[in-house]
Symmetry: C2
Subunit: 666 residues, 2 copies
């Protein structure tokens, strides 16, 4: 059951799609105080587990740390980071009392989950203007499903988007992108997408391509003939440049965010000084969304929206202050404090709170200060794109995902988890985020495989790909000036071909589980606790996940490891994809196991009495041969396969589903 | 067997104490090239494991990454960091061919251990002036023991230094330090040392105390009556201040590092602008070492040497350049590139390579550019202290450890592993460094328990203490402006009392194993591979260690975990120190186990047929009651206990050792 409590005057975020009348009185869990802003406290018992928060740091169980919803362009996802790119304010306490809480509040909100005091959950924010939804149910899984239903159906990606994609900040010329495509095809490593980071644009101007592309539609078409889609990036900031029509239109129509004095707010990002489209204004949102047509007209079928926290490198006001401070510094005999102060001011130019507090949105004719609705920007930029693309092609799905997000955005696009690093710990962080993201409606998601920042290594990329095999978005992406990390850059390319090949063999299953989860408001990735809530060991597992209804995954995430420990909450079938293409199936009893996993193998576990579909490896999604479909797993089991054309939006769960039966093993 | 190969004109680092004639020809392993600097390459087989490198990042097995010996004041020990505070150039390849290599080279040296190519070990440096020692033996452990003998006996700490210590950057006044001592005593949490970080000094001037202390000897004495030793920090930089005698003497005697023009080199550190004592000059070293007497005369019995990479915040030359750049920046219409360039220049002031290349040492009358001997500074600052303290008290040991080091320094003091963070991953990094450090002679060592940077949590500190229970240096240390992390800051102080109490119960064993390792050039902490080289699983274990000859440790290092997996290479006795003071002993068979470990328990494993001594918990080392000694572990086993007065330097392994026999269990 869901009860809604309204405090003050909440901003209408439109994150919830079902209507709820506000309840009177106080929620039955915890204590609420409204003296200084809003505060919710709840006494945690030793055995309580806390789930949720979507794209947040640390564990599946969020206990023992603090998380601050304050969408941030911070590429350093260290253990101590409180804020990432998203605000996913849904949390579940599971224990003596089990309940879910959704705080629909678009500004900074802190979740102290047994961080200050190990036995206290404390959730607070500055202004007591919010809707609080309290969801009760038997178990966290049940509560999650109620929540998911309340926030509306998740975005559904086209089928090609379940293939593998290669990306790198640094590809610039037409030759660069073609070279990547060719190298993959030459080496017979499957691939469906090549991503275009900022350098494909003309001077970082949104909805342009640089002049080297000449006939861009033809260029797009040529790659598509080879079953490779180009997926360009779109940034939040619109370059200030005379003659650039998007800029000129936006200024003319008052579609950009404002300063307090009504002038257009200016912030430097990749193109230099820019304006931000005021995506909280429905007219501006519609206008911005329509612009994607320039690229869909050229044959583009997918986009990623970036820098939409929005990230700010600096503002003219910030630089002016820095220059003043520099003048004073220059005239001084410097002390350590002086040097550190000027350093702090220069490094503090980026994503500065003062800048966010001097930017305004036009909401129904009223000026709303940006910092009070900060966490809605990426959501509404992607909503602009999602709504625009639906206008442009009402019948056809488009690939769309975003860096920044808020709950509600899951209806319009997926997310990638931002600028991670080539760190082994980030494989595990990738895994831990998946069920939390699914709880919040984000199904189409994945991390930058191999790591975005820092230099990757061959083994790190292989191990990360062996997790990426299972994530809907499977993309290798890296940062300029790091080691090149396309699969063909390393020794023994056959190992990469094999691992990514396993992905393609599994696409019928992954796509089917994704679609069923999306169409029934269910999770695709679940913590073991959601399936085995009575199994104390399962509840504590933080490095294995249930994927759909049939399998459990347990990737290796430590360097030089020959394998890993796996806990089986019930007897399961270990499936091993060997480098020679063979598939080994071994039934293993419930309990603890050490499972050896060589660098060039993928393993998964099929639940007792179940089976999954598998096809022959293909080099792209279009070429998957469904006639090669076989079922692996337990004999005499059945699987409910969802499949459709992969491109239209006319979803029909019943019509697109068949029951497959695995006969006796030979 | 050890062979020495000399290339060019090596700088005499005095890291090796045994004389070796240089061999002719080439080493029998790998390929050496001398065309551009020095390069050693060796083809790694899949099964080769690589050990060593002391205080370095990542695993016990160093494969799959790059490590650069270039002593650096970098408090961000991320997975991608190549250089920490130390240069420990000893490495062992274990596999089809097994051999050790020691590169006695005091400047930047790169170990590419299967990083660029997964099958290649590549070790290189800019100048081909070095001694290479090639050590052959049956196994890595045997090679390590030969190496340890060659570099001389490890530093031996006084017994009180095996107690627990509390530290924090931020304690300043006499009241601050006393308050810490009192809080520990009031709460009956055992403690022996309170550390004094930089604020105890008068304006950060080495060998001074701030005026608030008034009668410092009396102050020191009062705490000592309560069995608490104060351990002050000494920094590398000597403040430039008229009337400060250390500064004035150094200038007068030409004992400071120079610029190329012969003037004293100037660098800003905590005190503002300073000079660095030229510790490569034996006269200057002697002079600096004698200064410690000012504090030993006040009753001080221990020191930590810091900032001795040496860290540089900035130099006048660097600031002058920055000011010029600022002037140009101020006059420009800023672009993104302009802002980033000035930001890079300001942040690049610290630990700048150009500064290290403009500083000089006086070595036998010759000017030696600092960057060519950079990695020797911390070593020789601590050598100055070690030699000075031996002069001051020839018969009495003094506690001494350093941040920066080079092999050779292990004879003069220990090390702590620098400015880590309150991260769970740094518990594991702490553990992984221990055997590598022991290989390189560093026995007295430990990490900042609870983490130096960032905010700790109660559970993190408890779990980290449960590892620190076993490290010779057991110190809780934290950074200014982070959450206070003395044990009494948290709920349920009894849990901290218990965990640290276990340390005191184990001191007879830890001290005995430490002393035996030091006096026989052995390791105290070993990888499992060193004891069970034929056990493939044991060779791959990276989160358990052998401690001495009797026990194996396996601490919990993940948040919210109810326990952990442990691999037993043979049957062992699980010993569980329960919060009620009881000790549970359970024999467990060889193999894989999941062992539950509540937050307030410490576990260890006793090897088959062995036993260890245990005493009653005491609140300080002085009050340990050796009459309460009992043996736990296997019946009919024996233990060789080393014990001595703990303070004199007249070590006698034979005279100080007794054999204890554990009788039949009742």
């Amino acid at each position: 059951m869901i009860k809604k409590y309204t405090y003050g005057t909440p901003f209408p975020t439109e994150s919830v799609t079902e209507p709820f009348a506000a309840s009177e009185g106080m929620p039955e869990f915890g204590d609420i105080h409204l003296q200084e802003g809003f505060s919710f406290t709840y006494k945690l018992r030793d055995e309580d587990v806390v789930y949720g928060l979507g794209e947040a740091n640390r564990g599946i169980n969020k206990r023992g740390y603090q998380y601050i919803s304050n969408n941030s362009d911070n590429p350093h996802h260290h253990e101590d980071v409180y804020s990432l790119y998203a605000a996913h304010n849904f949390i579940i306490v599971s224990g003596e009392q089990t309940f879910g809480l959704y705080f629909d509040y678009p500004s900074t909100l802190t979740f102290d989950v047994g961080y200050t005091r190990s036995d206290e959950l404390h959730i607070f924010c500055e202004r007591a203007d919010l809707d609080l939804y309290v969801i009760t149910g038997e178990k966290p899984y049940d509560i999650t499903k109620q929540f998911r239903k309340m926030i509306g159906r998740s975005y559904i990606a086209p089928k090609f988007a379940f293939g593998f994609g290669q990306s790198r900040w640094g590809y610039k010329t037409p030759e660069d992108f073609v070279a990547v495509a060719e190298k993959y095809r030459e080496n017979h490593i499957p691939i469906d997408m090549v991503y275009m980071d900022i350098d494909y644009m003309d001077n970082y101007k949104d909805f342009t391509v640089n002049e080297e592309f000449r006939d861009f539609p033809q260029y797009v078409e040529n790659l598509k003939k080879d079953h490779i889609r180009l997926v360009p990036i779109i940034d939040a900031g619109v370059k200030i440049e005379e003659g650039y029509d998007v800029y000129e239109e936006g200024v003319e129509k008052n579609y950009f965010c404002k300063r307090q004095d009504g002038s257009d707010f200016v912030a430097a990002v990749w193109p230099g000084y820019t304006h931000f489209p005021d995506v909280l204004n429905p007219d501006a949102r519609k206008w911005f969304g329509e612009k994607y047509k320039r690229l869909t007209d050229a044959g583009i079928e997918g986009f990623w929206n970036d820098m939409n926290e929005p990230a700010i490198f600096f503002t003219p006001e910030g630089v002016k202050d820095v220059k003043e401070a520099m003048k004073a510094f220059i005239d001084k005999e410097e002390t350590v404090q002086d040097v550190w102060a000027i350093r702090a001011q220069v490094t503090g130019l980026a994503n500065n709170a003062e800048d966010y507090a001097s930017m305004y949105h036009n909401v129904d004719g009223k000026m709303v200060r940006h910092d009070q609705v900060h966490n809605l920007f990426g959501y509404n930029m992607t909503r602009a794109a999602g709504e625009g693309l639906r206008e442009i092609s009402p019948d056809k799905r488009c690939l769309l995902f975003s860096r920044s997000s808020y709950i509600g955005m899951h209806r319009y696009g997926g997310i990638w988890t931002g600028d991670n690093k080539s760190w082994w710990s980030h494989i595990l962080l990738n895994l831990k985020m998946l069920p939390s993201l699914n709880m919040c409606g984000f199904l189409y998601t994945g991390a930058d495989l191999g790591g975005f920042g820092c230099n990757t290594t061959r083994d790190l990329l292989l191990r990360w790909l062996a997790l990426g095999v299972f994530t809907p978005l499977m993309r290798d992406h890296s940062c300029e000036n790091t080691r090149e990390q396309e699969c063909y850059q390393f020794e023994h390319i056959e190992d990469f071909r094999h691992i990514i090949g396993v992905r393609y063999r599994l696409i019928p299953y992954i796509y089917s589980e994704y679609m069923k989860a999306a169409l029934t408001d269910d999770m695709m990735f679940k913590p073991l606790a959601f399936e085995y809530p009575e199994d104390r060991m399962a509840v504590n597992v933080e490095d294995q996940l249930m994927l759909g209804n049939e399998i459990m995954i347990a990737p290796v995430y430590t360097q030089n490891a020959i394998g890993r420990y796996v806990y089986l909450p019930e007897a399961m079938m270990l499936v091993r994809f060997c480098p020679d293409g063979k598939i080994e199936q071994t039934e293993m009893p419930k309990g603890h196991h050490f499972v050896e996993v060589p660098l060039n193998e993928v393993i998964l576990f099929i639940r007792q009495g179940k089976c999954i579909p598998l096809v022959d490896a293909a080099e792209c999604v279009d070429e998957i041969d469904m006639d090669s479909l076989q079922l692996i797993g337990y004999a005499n089991s059945t699987y409910q396969l969802y499949d459709d054309d992969g491109y239209t939006r006319a979803y029909d769960l019943e019509k697109s589903t068949v029951w497959l039966k695995k006969e006796e093993n030979k």
